[in-house]
Symmetry: none
DNA sequence: TGTTAAGCGAGACGGTACGTCGCGTCTTAAT
DNA sequence: ATTAAGACGCGACGTACCGTCTCGCTTAACA
């Protein structure tokens, strides 16, 4: 398909992504995208309701899910997952995009829906890792997958987004050790509380 | 002290907080603050370098650290900490402020410093909780406090900021169970990696 | 043509002229013109580079050249010209506009060009009067037209702008008598100096 | 007298004159004068009611009257007067100051009074020149001195302020020839008109 | 010789205008 | 019917200057 619309939208998306990644979110504006893409502002607004929507579209386009490792063990799956992750050097850009997305989502319900879909897509590999561990008996099959994802991803999110830190291999190992220990420990029925 | 400056700054801060909490961050602007506070725009700029700075000032003013519980055990300390936290209903506002802060910090170095101080202030109670647990022998005294904080706070941050969820008492208990299990498990020297 | 631009520019010019004539130049500002005209400030700046340019545009729009009398004689031509002129009661306003224009021109090169064009337009009738007198033999055909204009208009400019005076018919007659006498006298070759 | 007030006023005047002459009227402001003079803004306002007053004070301080030549003849007196004048290269600055003064006077009655005094002071030499010519019989003793001054100074004012031109010696001679011719011609009783 | 009041510096205040940028809407003409 | 081109109203941005207003500190003159 090469309709005029599609060509225009493609140009818009390219220009938007370039602006966002090269010059940061403060350089991102409909006017700037129009200038850079050569597409008229009117046309942009025909395809994106407002600036936030284009921003979110662009942000989410740059957040690509990880592949799902399958090494046969929880600990090594997680290592594989986060090592790939940790090898990325565009952590700063990623943080910018993620923060922008969270900020938009928190202030705008429709963006929040987009975020929901993105989170689903993004956490699917992790859910699969946990499900495999559960089927292997490493993890309590009764453990809610959402909770598991939070237990695993949460510490990294905190370090990444709040502390803006990176992990040394030692730190990464320690973190994973404790996360895996927490996950694999069978826990007393919490209904006692 | 009741100098003219201090009166003006107080008025500015009040108006800024009102605007931010009542009408959301999109209603926040220097002009709006000037109008609402009755303080001249010039005066605002005399005390705050730019709009972002006033925004960050306002956001951080509304993020108040938790008290540090001391119940004699890690698990019960955490319960106390998060139950207080969880009982709050202004989670949405808190999320907005936090996301705004993270978003600003990620795009502006000077804001990032402010965030750093805030994080320090905010995580101090949690560090104390962990230190007490270490002195009691519940937690490995060799565990880095930053990592510990990430292991504890991370899952909640993920749930809170990314998933925008609240926890049922059961979920909360399960989460704490696994977190505590992870923390209290002595872990083999990670130098093996 | 009734394009949007032209409508806007017309509104701007009207409001600017009203402000300038009614409340004086100190009441003239882009913001005030925007308020009164109902045209957005942005739009004003789209058509006028800055406040001074709009001011000069407005000042010059209100300076309209005189018609050229042709009575058959220099003296009576001048009488006709200045009687029309002298009958005007908006001398004060005219002085304001003229002084504003001179002041702007003297401090800004681009305004000076505008002034040059205005002066050309404004002195054309007088040049014609002199040329006719030269063709009739009343005035030395070798006399530079610029000098002639200065000789004629200069005294009135001085009285009008510096002295802020008006002329009684007697005074006017005396002035014209001497001016005409000066012009019609054949003068020795000035190369003697 | 070297009271504190006088020292302050002197500093203010110096700074004001420097600013006005060096950087032009657009650089002239109370704040700038305060900065440059080291005198507090408060003190400036204690001695000058407002910015315009200080501006006019400064402008008039830089306009110094010419000496009165006395060569024994009208034509040579005028030559002497205007040659001195014409030799000055600060014509541009003079034009700026004069235009500023006229502009202020035309828009503010109290400034207009100041202008009146300045004009009187400035035209006194010319009045004296004419009076001498009248006593010599060169000029009609019945000619009003104000009119005479306008006839003489007017053409130069026009050329100077409106045309921003300078005169070649030839042009100057021609101008003076015609002016003198106009002045020395006995004119029929103008009551005929 | 002290005391007191005027004048001073320092600088914040409310206010208005400046000129710029981005938003989202609208109109016109070309494709 | 869709697009390009670009003006429009709106409103925030951050800056400069206006003239006013405390404040203490310093002088000078008076008691």
């Amino acid at each position: 398909m090469n309709t005029r619309s599609e060509i225009a939208v493609t140009k818009i998306r390219h220009a938007a992504a370039e602006l966002l990644l090269a010059d940061g979110p403060s350089a991102f504006s409909i006017d700037a995208v129009a200038r850079r893409s050569g597409v008229a502002k009117t046309t942009i607004y025909r395809h994106f309701d407002n600036a936030r929507e284009l921003l979110v579209d662009t942000l989410s386009a740059t957040l690509r899910p990880q592949p799902t490792p399958n090494t046969g063990g929880l600990r090594s799956d997680l290592e594989a997952f986060f090592q790939t992750e940790a090898s990325t050097r565009e952590l700063d850009e990623l943080a910018q995009r993620l923060a922008g997305l969270l900020y938009s989502a928190v202030n705008d319900p429709s963006t929040n829906e987009v975020l929901g879909e993105l989170v689903t897509a993004y956490t699917t590999p992790m859910r699969t890792i946990v499900e495999l561990a559960q089927s292997r008996g490493e993890v309590d099959p009764g453990l809610d997958l959402d909770l598991a994802v939070e237990l695993i991803q949460g510490p990294f999110l905190f370090g990444f987004l709040v502390r803006r830190r990176t992990y040394s291999p030692d730190d990464l190992a320690t973190l994973l050790d404790h996360i895996v220990a927490g996950l694999t420990t069978r826990v007393a029925a919490s209904a006692m509380d």
